[in-house]
């Protein structure tokens, strides 16, 4: 108790050290805090962290081209599901606290519950990607630098018309590239 009081008194009393030094210490402290904060947040972006709760869906990506391919360039969970720029990333991370509640309540705790909710979860992600113009796709697949002479005729046709005009965005056609598809009965452009 006395230690706490002494500590508090020291914190709230003026210092004998020069202002510059205090400021510098504050600066270093801020630097360390920022580093620790970001390291912690990047730890929540790793595949191991996500598969702690979402293991079945992380398993589904193993057969796809974003997991293993000719060149070895790949995408993990955060590359597609967490925005890159800082402001949107923080917003998404705050929204993710909702998922802790879902974890506690076991909203998708069993396979049946997950199957039922899968369409809703998929649509939420597709809507988010449509809203930000598939920004996560464009983080790696830059449309301005797509070489149409290297693509097959089908890709050239679709990319040079609907994608170039802005009428469609990546995720409108490229659904199910990473995970299995939910029931696509009412999804536009499918069946």
């Amino acid at each position: 108790m006395n230690i706490l009081k002494a500590f508090w008194r020291r914190l709230t009393s003026p210092s004998k050290v020069a202002v510059g030094l205090v400021l510098f210490m504050g600066f270093m402290g801020g630097l360390l805090f920022w580093g620790a904060f970001n390291t912690g947040m990047e730890a929540t972006n790793t595949e191991e962290f996500c598969s702690g709760c979402h293991a079945p869906i992380v398993k589904e990506i193993r057969e796809t081209v974003h997991f293993a391919n000719r060149s070895g360039v790949r995408a993990i969970c955060s590359d597609c599901h967490v925005p890159h720029n800082w402001t949107d990333k923080i917003v998404r991370k705050v929204q993710a606290s909702k998922e802790l509640v879902a974890f506690a309540m076991g909203t998708i705790g069993t396979e049946e519950k997950f199957k039922e909710r899968r369409g809703y979860l998929a649509n939420r992600e597709w809507h988010r990607m449509k809203e930000n113009d598939s920004q996560e796709c464009r983080n790696c697949h830059n449309f301005e630098y797509m070489d149409f002479s290297e693509q097959g005729p089908r890709s050239v046709k679709q990319h040079s018309t609907a994608l170039a005009s802005g009428e469609k965005t990546c995720v409108d056609c490229h659904k199910g590239i990473a995970h299995k598809l939910p029931d696509m009965k009412n999804v536009e452009g499918w069946q």
């Binding site: 081209v65 097959g152 089908r154 056609c173 199910g176 299995k180 696509m184 452009g189 069946q191």
Partner: protein, 154 residues
């Protein structure tokens, strides 16, 4: 005369045996093995695996060889999901999407039941495309084939 014929036959068989291809089983009558068009494999030895065949990304339309042939798939279909939840083939080839995607429409036969009754959507018996339609890999034919199409299809 008989001896001459016998001698000629024996010499002929010897030459035929010598003219056989180089690959052969080294212990015929011993532990055996298998000889096939893909070469020779013995019981105790694991034959090294062949390289994977590649599927061309898109090779234009492939002409049909006979009248009711299910057309061949000229493009890659890697990871295209055809399941209860989604049919990726129909996302381009259904009557609803074909025009926008610039793809061939599936024929009317896909809307009929076994008895010929016409349904309002793709018949379940034709839902799984790959039961009939396949892509073509870059494999060389193993046996010489002189099949020719009928005049009308050439």
């Amino acid at each position: 005369m008989k001896r001459l014929v016998l001698a000629v036959m024996a010499v002929g068989m010897l030459l035929a045996g010598a003219a056989q291809s180089a690959e052969e089983l080294h212990n015929p009558g011993g532990i055996g093995g298998v000889e096939s068009l893909r070469g020779v494999s013995e019981l105790e030895v694991t034959r090294p695996a062949d390289a994977f065949k590649r599927y061309p990304r898109d090779q234009g339309t492939i002409d049909s060889d006979y009248v009711y042939q299910p057309p061949l798939i000229p493009h890659t279909i890697r990871n295209y999901e055809v399941s209860l939840n989604a049919n990726k083939c129909l996302a381009c080839h259904s009557w609803k999407n074909a025009k926008e995607m610039g793809a061939t429409k599936i024929s009317v036969t896909h809307y009929q039941t076994r008895e010929g009754q016409v349904l309002s959507d793709v018949s379940p018996r034709r839902y799984f495309c790959q039961q009939c339609h396949v892509p073509q890999a870059d494999a060389k034919p193993l046996v010489e084939n002189d099949f020719q199409r009928v005049d009308a299809l050439r």
